[in-house]
């Protein structure tokens, strides 16, 4: 069974208040080396298919549901 891991995060230039708050907390904790934090989420998908066009299906799933293309971008990693 194939596994796809989808990473979703806000596009560059879109304000990420959660990442910003985490970065401020890190500053308060003394980790002033951290210049910025971007938050996001990931999904692990197990796929019942061996055909090669699964990539286009996963892409469709990302665009339709897992990410909001207006403000988010995504990246997919596959492993066997």
């Amino acid at each position: 069974m194939k596994k796809a891991t989808v990473f979703v995060r806000l596009k560059d230039g879109v304000l990420d208040p959660q990442g910003l708050t985490i970065q401020k907390a890190l500053l308060n904790m003394g980790y002033n080396q951290v210049a910025s934090v971007k938050s996001g989420r990931f999904f692990e998908l197990e796929i019942n298919a061996d055909n090669n066009d699964i990539k286009s299906k996963i892409d469709e799933i990302c665009r339709k549901l897992l990410a909001n293309p207006v403000v988010e971008k995504y990246r997919v990693e596959y492993d066997q």
Binding site: V14, L15, P17, Q18, T21, L65, L66, N68, V70, V71
Partner: protein, 236 residues
Amino acid sequence: MKFGVVTFPGSNCDYDAYAAVKLLGREVEFLWHQSTDLNGCDAVILPGGFSYGDYLRSGAIARFSPIMQAVTKFAHSGGLVLGICNGFQILVEAGLLPGALMRNNHLRFSCKFVYLRVENNENPFTVSCRAGEVLKIPIAHKDGNFYHFTSDIEDLIKNRQILFRYCDPHGAITEESNPNGSLFNIGGICNKEGNVAGMMPHPERAVEDILGSSSGLKIFQSIIKSLTEGVRSEVA
């Protein structure tokens, strides 16, 4: 004339919206999310709440409900659709309204009265308001921070799609009166055709003075007036 209020799993303002319409003496019925038929309703309200537990993104899952196919078809044929709070989030996710509703800039759930300035009173949802009228209506959300690309905001302005902006009690647009970081203080918009509108504040919670305000009635009165007198949107 009949209103329909959609109930999604997790909707919690459906009865309030129902009661607001009843208060104005109009016929109204609930529409179940699994239904594929609007039962001949003349206006549809997507109420506030936490459809599907706000999982993934607010409104992201509800927008694939069977009823949304009927709502989309209705919207495309010019039917009046109003999304309130979670309903607004669903309309944005469905692509029936532009932009995105992101986490509030302060990251907290915000529940309080706000003031809204009516930016366009020639729209089916605002036709009972005066131009520039200030409405006092409560908000209750964590994801109400309206975002759109700058060039697209210009289009919204040009097309008169901005219906409400957060303001102070006197109608001045200030940073302090913006409760969530929303771009351009936007509290409510409509589509280019003007027949689909979304707003983060809850007009159904401001329909009697004993509730703190009756400003919200104007939104429902506008819809009734539009349906009765055949008011069409001035935009686009």
